[in-house]
Symmetry: C2
């Protein structure tokens, strides 16, 4: 475990101070914390007078493009073919593989600063700033910026607020602790427009998201005395609605959140006939244990696995039913 061994803010600042050129990268299929942390790390490197390139294997999701500076994050294709990076800052990546194809652009002997909050992080950097109890990588960057002595401006505050907000599910998950709220207070004070960020990221629904929600609710199936609720979305549904995979984000929570439901399941049919299952529990059921029996994994409350066919779907739902505590 990384624990206290890898939380040297001074060493991280030295890494950022010592070079001239940096690449900041995050994980494939970036989420709010990944993009915010990328931009916040760049904000700090800008203040330190460094040259910075921001790049990611996958594009910035549309809904995060309102973040100032997000247009600076390049895709893999738009990097000059010969460009190689020697000093890298990786944010919110639990392991080296999460960086994806962008790691092909690291120079031989490249040095990497690994800033992350995932407890499973295996300290793959030459320098590691891993704070597993931080609710978001943005929380760690908040503290790194504080350690740097640079005062937050409204732009940085907006970025960090976004990371905190998204990784805590809008200050609702159990990782919403005293430190998160203290930090949020400081960020609002520094000029973050919390209402605007929450409204755009958590309230606003695109038309495809709305149509998926409507379809999902109409497709809900209840089993085992209404203790399990599942929804199936087919590739044809996705095409008809014009939905992107990211539009499904959060849909499974509607199944999980029905009163009395202990497990919510979203079954997303893929083009090859297989099915991606997302499992959510209220905490009484360990869905990671169930998912791992099907070659998947995750946490107690959120897990996933891939299923080959209808037989496996039924097997998964049966396994969930068997795992319920007898009443």
């Amino acid at each position: 475990m990384s624990g206290g061994m890898h939380r040297d803010f001074e060493a991280a600042m030295s890494f950022l101070n010592e070079g001239d050129d940096y690449l900041v990268v995050s994980h494939v299929q970036p989420d709010g914390d990944a993009i915010s942390s990328t931009l916040a790390a760049a904000w700090l490197l800008d203040r330190l007078g460094k040259r910075v390139v921001l790049a990611n294997q996958d594009p910035v999701p549309d809904r995060l493009r309102f973040l100032s500076g997000s247009e600076r994050i390049l895709s893999l294709d738009s990097l000059a073919p010969d460009l190689r990076f020697k000093r890298i800052v990786a944010v919110d990546c639990a392991d080296f593989k999460r960086i994806g194809q962008l790691s092909e652009r690291f120079a031989e002997g490249a040095e990497l600063l690994n800033i992350d909050h995932h407890p499973t992080n295996d300290a793959y950097g030459v320098c590691n700033l891993i704070v597993p109890e931080a609710a978001a990588t943005a929380q760690i960057l908040f503290e790194l910026i504080a350690a740097s002595g640079h005062a937050l401006d409204a732009a940085a505050a907006e970025l960090l607020y976004t990371g905190l907000l998204t990784d805590t599910g809008g200050f609702r998950y159990s990782n919403t602790d005293t430190r998160v709220m203290q930090t949020a207070a400081r960020l609002l004070e520094a000029g973050a427009d919390g209402y605007r960020i929450a409204d755009r990221l958590l309230e606003t629904m695109t038309l495809p998201q709305l149509k998926l929600l409507r379809l999902g609710l109409n497709r809900m199936e209840f089993r085992f005395d209404d203790r399990v609720c599942s929804m199936l979305i087919t590739p044809e549904d996705m095409a008809e609605i014009g939905a992107a995979p990211e539009d499904l984000e959060g849909l499974v929570n509607y199944a999980r959140n029905v009163e009395g439901v202990e497990a919510g399941v979203l079954l997303k049919g893929l083009r090859d006939g297989s099915v991606k299952a997302s499992l959510r529990s209220g905490g009484t059921l360990d869905v990671a244990a169930i998912a791992s029996a099907f070659g998947g994994g995750g946490h107690i409350r959120a897990a996933g696995c891939r299923l080959e066919d209808d037989v496996q779907i039924e097997a998964l739902l049966s396994a969930i039913g068997e795992a319920l505590e007898p009443r």
Copy 2:
């Protein structure tokens, strides 16, 4: 306006200290802040060694019954017929009328402490603690308890967190300011289980709520280049679903939150053939101005009015269309 004139925490503490018997009351159709503030005021009076009766015209909504002490809040009928109260603490009531029928139980010459955050509060008490910039009455009670010198325990922290959470829409509304977040941090530190509260109040949906949401989404109608979205729910729908009026809470936001929609409208048919319209805007449109043209009122972003028939419904929707900024 009440402003700075009525925010004397010491005077409020004197009011609470000087008597022996108190009634704590809030407004009709109580919301999360009303119930939380009632219970938090009682918590403080308990600490001060006072005899306290809690009562409200309307019952505690089911979803708030998990709050410890909520069973202490009596309904009007369950009060002994002759009982009259001389010292009253009213919380979260913008005006005296909001107390409803419970005011019939106030003794002649009764003295009332008015604790509230509504900017329109007209200082109807003998003592008034009105803090219009507070996001919730629970925020004022947090400060009153701090002024009392009594240390928060987990039970009080849970109550105050609930009031803050509900009146800020889960820390999403524009009233979510630095002070709210600082207070939330202190409440979590004092033992409030923020996750549990948010999960129960903001995430969990009862079956009637789920069915209403599904119906609402299926009934959505878009007008004026998809800038206005309305949903109609009939009394027959409510009966078939077995829904209570409070189950409709929040539904109109789904209309308002569709990307590109500037006004969301929920039309709730009543048994007498009239319709209760709830209007929500993203802020570009002043729905209070529209509602007031139909005898209703509210705020820029949230308003309501009552309509007599289909002709008036069409008139309201037309009025909204006309109020949209030309593109």
